[in-house]
Symmetry: C2
Subunit: 336 residues, 2 copies
């Protein structure tokens, strides 16, 4: 495993010169440059990241904190992020978070040492204290899928998403409409879910439609919970004719429950989701689409710029749209 010294010897120069050449520093003669490059190439030399980090005092890896298990959407964002980052010299240190405490512990760890060049949080808005801690440690931060103050973000207008969903359901003729979303205890995406719900209810109210309390199902964002909530909904004396799920991941559970109760979608029950994950096509799910992969790509762009000391405040909002598939339709006639 060749070191910088080996290259230096082979090229007949000092290690300092090799370093200069390899990091593209200008003050070096063209002739020695080619000689060094040739030597490096011949030896198959590539610098030790560890030694570089140590000498430079900063790492070339970007910490990505993402709750992969929660939602297939997260992986799609991550993929977009990784693809965009591949062209750079940075690589990804992945932290797959599951519970609440994990996030906090982790961020402290990340802020702690020079181990990380920057951190990006996917679908996991940091608290103001966490933002401050990261800032104090001079670690650039970008957040994907949330809009938080004093941080560069890539986000969508969740309220607008809720309104879009409401209009789809209203236009189809529904009046008995329920909502399955995230509970406050679920630290992931709670705010998001709430913003969507509130705007959703607003539009409904304007149309004279009120959502009764037992039609509101905030649940921990965990596999199985959305299904359970939907089962309860369908077992009501007067079940809803339509459900807005705060995410496609939750819509999976809604669809499953509907089938389990023998409710045909969309004949007996309309379902609209949020995200447009890849499998939404297979599920035939009508949904509010947001550009998942792109959100990751933009996140990568932002973090790269942030590392180059661009001033913060470059958040970007991505567009939402309605994708009509076959999980929505008019309410059953008997629902009158």
């Amino acid at each position: 495993m060749p070191t910088i010294n080996d290259v230096a010897t082979k090229a007949g120069v000092s290690p300092a010169t090799v370093s200069r050449v390899l990091s593209g520093k200008p003050q070096v003669a063209a002739s020695t440059r080619v000689r060094v490059l040739a030597a490096a190439d011949e030896l198959g030399y590539s610098p030790s990241k560890a030694a570089q980090s140590l000498a430079l005092g900063r790492s070339s890896s970007i910490g990505v904190v993402a709750p992969l298990a929660n939602n297939p959407a997260t992986a799609e964002r991550l993929d977009g992020f990784a693809a965009r980052l591949a062209a750079s010299d940075y690589d990804i240190s992945l932290f797959d978070v599951h519970g609440a405490g994990e996030r906090t512990d982790l961020l402290r760890k990340l802020a702690d040492r020079e181990r990380i060049g920057a951190v990006v949080l996917i679908s996991l808005p940091p608290t103001p204290e966490e933002v401050e801690a990261l800032a104090a440690a001079h670690v650039p931060v970008v957040v994907i899928d949330a809009n938080v103050p004093d941080v560069d973000c890539v986000y969508v207008d969740d309220g607008e998403g809720g309104r879009l969903a409401a209009r789809v359901l209203l236009a189809a003729g529904h009046r008995r409409i329920a909502f399955v979303g995230d509970a406050a205890e679920s630290e992931f995406g709670f705010a998001k879910s709430e913003e969507r719900r509130i705007a959703f209810e607003d539009v409904l109210a304007t149309a004279g439609v009120h959502i009764p309390d037992d039609y509101l199902k905030p649940r921990p964002h965990v596999s199985g919970e959305a299904k359970r909530a939907t089962l309860e909904l369908l077992d009501l004396t007067e079940p809803p004719t339509a459900i807005f799920a705060a995410s496609d991941a939750q819509a999976i559970g809604v669809l499953e429950a509907a089938h389990q109760r023998g409710a045909d979608v969309p004949r007996d029950l309309s379902v609209i989701g949020f995200d447009d994950i890849q499998s939404a096509r297979g599920m035939g799910l009508t949904t509010i689409r947001q550009p998942l992969e792109e959100s990751g790509a933009y996140g990568a762009k932002l973090v790269l710029e942030a590392i180059e000391h661009r001033p913060i405040g470059m958040s970007i909002e991505l567009p939402l749209s309605v994708v009509n598939r076959r999980s929505t339709g008019p309410p059953p006639l008997t629902s009158g």
Copy 2:
């Protein structure tokens, strides 16, 4: 940002002793141990990974190569891997691969330097040359979702999976059966797909069912291809009454195509997938289930052991099972 020297000074010992305490070495007095620990805690000290890597000559990060975009199953495996690894001192360097060349370039890079403590390949079997290169560089390797010689693997019996799928379709009464899988050009999972198909055809043949050439659709594993293939199948004068998709990801496209042609699943067309990804529930997809998350967890276990210099040859096979949902049923009466 405190260093080991700060801790040493504060505890009134030498840095060497601090190092010993922190890495749990036995030869240190209990009294000094507590003193050092207290000092470290008070300072909020945590060792610099870069310095450690440099001194130790090996990195504490594990390179994970995974084609995230290809298949939601990959993210589920990755999640299982990350969860199991979280308890260890290692962290994940994620390399999200898209094309063919990428994989090769990457592995060379990984083998190159001490940058990485080990590499795990998800759904991306290395070539013999690649295995050898990694071995030469003394980098432990584990492969998840493929069974390759001279490497520790976590895999399933793909042939068995194909047989299971065949029996499901046969038992339902199908005779006109098609297959949608991976093309040779698609470097990802080609072998897997082929093993499944061959065993699938074997069982069918035994039952007197032959798959005509135009019922065989090997396609690049890319979004949209499975759909296109299915469209062609459905447009045949005598379309199949059942389709075996080599993965749930491909089944998404199959389902989408069926709907687009107005074919009701399962009334007009039965579909069986492979993997049992999370959204298979939402799709109502009958499928051959393999433990995705667990595959990642076992992969983590293997790689951790491999790093501790356990001899190789510890591959583990995971079980397959049939999950019956609503995408399969008897063939339409008119098909006889």
